[in-house]
């Protein structure tokens, strides 16, 4: 049974993202554990991809650093296993691009064919991954993934964006876990301004369609003020590039934890 929705047990969730292996696996494990202790409600772990077309410069750099350092899909699973030993109940999600899970073969010997997605979700279920976010699988292409992820009890998170318009109602009908509300156009990365009315409108349509569904807003958020505002419009805030930027600037695990604590406090203040 997925623990994704436990992320919203306090009423408002703070969801940080980091890339597995940036700068190395040990640091990623330490950062995840510290973020969890600092109040992170669900942690998104990025499996690095060679060509992250939805990402701005910061996450592109994170992926490049992780891949150069030898991070692999198995390596990302190992990070999750190490976290799970300490935090059995922490909601955990993977964020990546579909080709990595499409190609993942697990332990299958060379020459033995595997069903796409099956070895990946089998391992997710074993290691306790609760959800997955795929930047390049829109609603229309979800079925081939859902056929497997549902079977293994992993929530395939749907996204809505300011251009989703009529599609929001379709997407909101039967979502898994929560809905990821993309705050604004473009790729991931810190922004100074948002069109809050767009965000409010997306959340309103989602809730009209499906009153019980949880929504968290991501893309561009970096400050406690922004997180507070986003959480007031939805059920939580998702932050990636701002954290990785700190990591790239040499922030310590304690500094990352302090930042997460301030962001969690901000989302709680929105209630």
């Amino acid at each position: 049974m997925s623990k994704t929705l436990h992320a919203f047990k306090d009423g408002k969730a703070f969801i940080p993202f980091i890339t597995a292996g940036d700068p190395d696996a040990d640091t990623t494990v330490r950062d995840i554990l510290a973020m969890a202790d600092a109040g992170a409600d669900l942690i998104e772990v990025g499996i690095p991809f060679s060509d992250p077309t939805a990402e701005g410069p910061v996450i592109q750099e994170a992926d490049a650093i992780a891949l150069k350092g030898g991070m692999t899909i198995n390596g990302a699973f190992e990070v999750v296993e190490r976290v799970r030993e300490v935090k059995p109940d922490l909601p955990l999600a993977f964020m990546t691009y579909v080709n990595t899970l499409f190609k993942y073969r697990g332990d299958a010997p060379a020459g033995v064919a595997t069903e796409p997605y099956v070895p990946f979700f089998e391992r997710c279920a074993k290691d306790g991954i609760d959800a997955i976010i795929l930047a390049d699988v829109p609603f229309e292409e979800q079925d081939e993934v859902l056929a497997v992820s549902d079977k293994y009890g992993v929530d395939l998170i749907s996204m809505v964006s300011p251009t989703s318009e009529d599609r929001i109602r379709e997407i909101a009908k039967n979502p898994r876990g929560f809905i990821y509300v993309v705050s604004s156009m473009g790729v991931t990365g810190v922004r100074s301004e948002f069109q809050f009315d767009h965000i409010e409108n997306m959340v309103r349509i989602i809730r009209e369609t499906n009153p019980g569904v949880k929504c968290a807003v991501g893309f561009g958020i970096s400050t406690p003020d922004q997180a507070r505002k986003m959480a007031s419009l939805s059920d939580g805030a998702i932050v990636g590039s701002a954290i990785l930027r700190k990591i790239h600037a040499g922030a310590t695990t304690e500094e990352i934890a302090d930042y997460v604590r301030s962001m969690k406090q901000a989302v709680m203040e929105s209630m």
């Binding site: 991809f49 390049d136 318009e165 156009m185």
Partner: protein
């Protein structure tokens, strides 16, 4: 599996949510334009009176006799305005973008031919134009960079990844996801998310529409084989399309093997790649076991791409078309051969198709014919070929 834009299992729309609305809008606009006689008439007028269509189907008599097999015809896309088949697609997409009220075109480019074509049509239509090009390719094709600037386009160097064509596509997609309300992404090949592979194929299918009529007029029968080089696959799809129902016509795509399909320095997607999902489509890609896209290599910047359009993947899966690897050395020899034999300096991309023709023409009957798509002219490649041959020549 989504149902839209599928060629067997290939194709689809694997793209960020933010771009889905733009794709829906494009699909709708394209279907309307396709059915609108005034759009078709305007496009045909531009193709004939601006781009110099129909292109010649030239009987390469000397080459045919010297190779000693079938009759060889060259479909002269190199004689189009801007020197390659790319203009066929750009005119179609730009006309569509204008009809949709978009004021800016963006494009990726490898060798620079698609960038030049996009910059050209943007100038003609009075649209803004930004072209994304890998840093490495900008160095390899400096002349085309200046050419685009001369036409009023801004050329943006892409430093991420390998600094080549795939990285230029990545960056164009990122920019499009920010600015799709007023910008059309003019994809240069039969790739990307639906409707691009279908739409680009339709715009390029003018090549085989003309060629089929021309060969029937000259020979009174269909050719035994049709050859084209293939990277993303737009000239090949254009050259194949109207021959697909003609089962007796062999369709042969010639891909860039670089230093050899059995070496890591290759871009022979069909011969070395596997099924994957990237750049909006399920297709065949050069990648590692973990699905990370592989760096590829070819002397030809236009074929230096780790994937292939989904319709080609489908044609290969059904056996309707075959895809053969051609090395740098074979392509360069064919480039030199065609220059000396027929007085035609073709693009190094097109030389890959000429190279395979040299292998199979002697085995074919003099009663049969083949058509090679000469996708572009080779002025842009002269300096690089000279350097390949050890001559220290720079533009």
């Amino acid at each position: 599996m989504g149902t839209k834009g599928r060629f067997g299992i290939y194709g689809g729309q694997y793209i960020t949510e933010t771009l889905m609305n733009a794709l829906d809008e494009l699909e709708k606009a394209y279907n309307e334009a396709k059915a609108d006689p005034s759009f078709q008439a305007e496009l045909q007028d531009l193709l004939n009176n601006y781009a110099n269509r129909p292109s010649l189907l030239y009987y390469a008599e000397k080459m045919s006799k010297d190779l000693g097999g079938c009759k060889i015809y060259l479909k002269r896309e190199d004689l189009n305005h801007t020197g390659a088949h790319k203009i066929n697609n750009v005119l179609g997409q730009a006309l569509l973008a204008k009809r949709m009220g978009k004021t800016r075109l963006i494009a990726e480019t490898g060798a620079g031919q698609h960038g030049v074509a996009t910059a050209t049509v943007a100038a003609l239509f009075g649209m803004d134009c930004d072209v994304y090009m890998g840093k490495l390719d900008m160095e390899r094709q400096a002349l085309n960079v200046y050419r685009m600037e001369l036409l009023g386009a801004h050329v943006h160097g892409v430093e991420s990844g390998t600094g080549t064509l795939k990285d230029a596509v990545n960056e164009a997609m990122r920019v499009w996801s920010q600015e799709c309300s007023y910008t059309h992404y003019c994809i240069g090949s039969t790739m990307g998310p639906y409707p691009f592979p279908t739409m680009v194929r339709d715009f390029q299918s003018v090549i085989s529409r003309e060629a089929r009529e021309q060969i029937l007029a000259k020979e009174g029968k269909l050719p035994a084989a049709v050859l084209a080089c293939v990277g993303g696959g737009s000239n090949a799809m254009g050259m194949f399309y109207n021959f697909i129902p003609d089962e007796g016509v062999k369709l042969i795509g010639c891909e860039a093997a670089g230093e050899g399909a059995d070496t890591p320095r290759t871009a022979a997607t069909m011969n070395t790649g596997s099924v994957g999902i990237f750049h909006g489509m399920k297709s065949i890609f050069c990648q590692n076991e973990e699905g990370q896209i592989a760096p590829v290599y070819s002397i030809s910047a236009g074929l230096d791409y780790p994937g292939i359009g989904p319709e080609h993947a489908y044609l290969a899966s059904t056996g309707r078309a075959q895809y053969v690897p051609i090395t740098d050395e074979e392509a360069v020899e064919a480039f030199e051969f065609l220059a000396k034999e027929e007085g035609i300096i073709c693009a190094i991309e097109s030389a890959h198709a000429v190279a395979y023709a040299r292998k199979i023409a002697p085995t074919m009957s003099p009663d049969d014919s083949m058509i090679i798509c000469l996708s572009g002219r080779g002025d842009k490649d002269v300096a690089a070929i000279a350097r390949y041959r050890g001559r220290d020549l720079h533009e």
